[in-house]
């Protein structure tokens, strides 16, 4: 059964139960991205424990150029 969540602002249907699963389903290397849920940082080590609920706002980011 699928949940609707927002990933980087985009509405997404997912079967992932946890943030860790979501990251995996997107095919991201676990250590290659950092995550936030509903505006708060979620450490890599806490993703497994963090269950998703409908309309969760997920941010998945990676390194990029900066000034």
């Amino acid at each position: 059964m699928e949940l609707k969540v927002f990933v980087n602002g985009e509405p997404t249907l997912t079967s992932a139960a946890t943030l860790a699963e979501l990251v995996a389903q997107f095919g991201f290397a676990e250590a290659g991205v950092a995550t936030a849920l509903n505006g708060d940082f979620v450490p890599r080590t806490a993703r497994q424990a963090r269950r998703l609920v409908g309309d969760d706002q997920v941010e998945i980011v990676s390194p990029r150029q900066g000034g």
């Binding site: 980087n8 602002g9 997107f26 095919g27 991201f28 290397a29 290659g32 991205v33 950092a34 995550t35 936030a36 505006g39 708060d40 940082f41 450490p43 890599r44 941010e59 998945i60 980011v61 990676s62 390194p63 990029r64 150029q65 900066g66 000034g67």
Partner: protein, 273 residues
């Protein structure tokens, strides 16, 4: 600068949060024509620190990995920023994500008040700085020349301050030299890094001559016709400005005074008609 380099002992290194940084030029990694040019510019600049960011990743692109490799290859200390954050909450979460990704507790803290001017929101900045210091970050706040904000940031636990020269990307140089001098005078022992608004090496040299400890820039190098050459130019200008500060600048005078000795001037005292 041979002479400069030949007096290493007379040149106190720049210490930021107890870390000796090998150069007084901090360089951004954005806006370059290509990753290769960016890497070459960082080398030509002999940058002591490079700034980076975190951005949303997409399954397809997966661009983060490649960029991070490139940066790692430079063997330069990395400082992630919180560019684009509009609230303390965004900045705090972004700083945490960056710390995990880049494995550093250094953060260039930006809390932007509005998107047109990209001006620091001093209120949000102090609030975010307080929280991040409590979370164990070494915070480098991007601020203005405001003395009171500077005091509050110091009280919040920021050991380094990064006042602007002018708004980001304008290249206008020191918009308010008088206020920047006051800031330098008022915080003689706090490392102060001029961040944003520098457009030319002469601007950077002027900042260093005023006694600022370092300069952080990006656009002026990345958007030059020849970024690598411009990086080298800024490197030299910043060394020049620092050396001049240490060497003691002459006093500006209102009235002319001869350099060539007056005594013994030929024909002196003869009828000059």
């Amino acid at each position: 600068m041979n002479t400069a380099l030949s007096h290493p002992l007379t040149r106190p290194a720049l210490a930021l949060y107890g870390v000796n940084v090998p150069s007084r030029l901090l360089l951004g990694t954005a806006l370059y024509p290509s990753p290769k040019v960016m890497a070459d510019a960082v080398k030509a600049a002999a940058a002591g620190v490079v700034t980076v960011s975190v951005r949303r990743e997409t399954a397809r692109a997966n661009s983060g990995a490649g960029f991070f490799e490139l940066i790692r290859g430079l063997n330069v200390r990395v400082m992630p920023n919180t560019a684009g954050c509009r609230t303390p909450r965004e900045a705090i979460a972004t700083a945490h994500m960056a710390r995990e990704l880049f494995g550093t507790d250094w953060v260039k803290l930006e809390v932007i008040g509005n998107d047109d001017t990209l001006q620091p929101d001093l209120f949000g900045l102090v609030e975010a700085a307080r929280a991040l210091v409590a979370d164990g970050f070494k915070v480098f706040p991007y601020t203005t020349e405001d003395l009171i904000a500077a005091e509050r940031l110091r009280q919040a636990g920021c050991e380094v301050l990064m006042p602007w020269a002018a708004p980001i990307g304008t290249g206008r140089g020191l918009a308010n030299p008088y206020a920047l001098r006051s800031l330098r005078t008022y915080f003689p022992d706090t490392p102060l890094i001029i961040d944003a608004g520098i457009g030319a090496p002469s601007h950077a040299a002027a900042a260093m001559e005023m006694g600022f400890d370092a300069v952080l820039l990006n656009t002026a190098v990345a958007r030059a016709a020849d970024p690598v050459r411009m990086a080298a130019a800024f490197r030299a200008a910043i060394e020049a400005g620092r050396s001049a500060f240490e060497a003691g600048l002459m006093e500006m005078r209102d009235t002319a005074t001869p350099s060539t000795p007056v005594a013994g001037t030929p024909f002196f005292g003869l009828d000059r008609s």
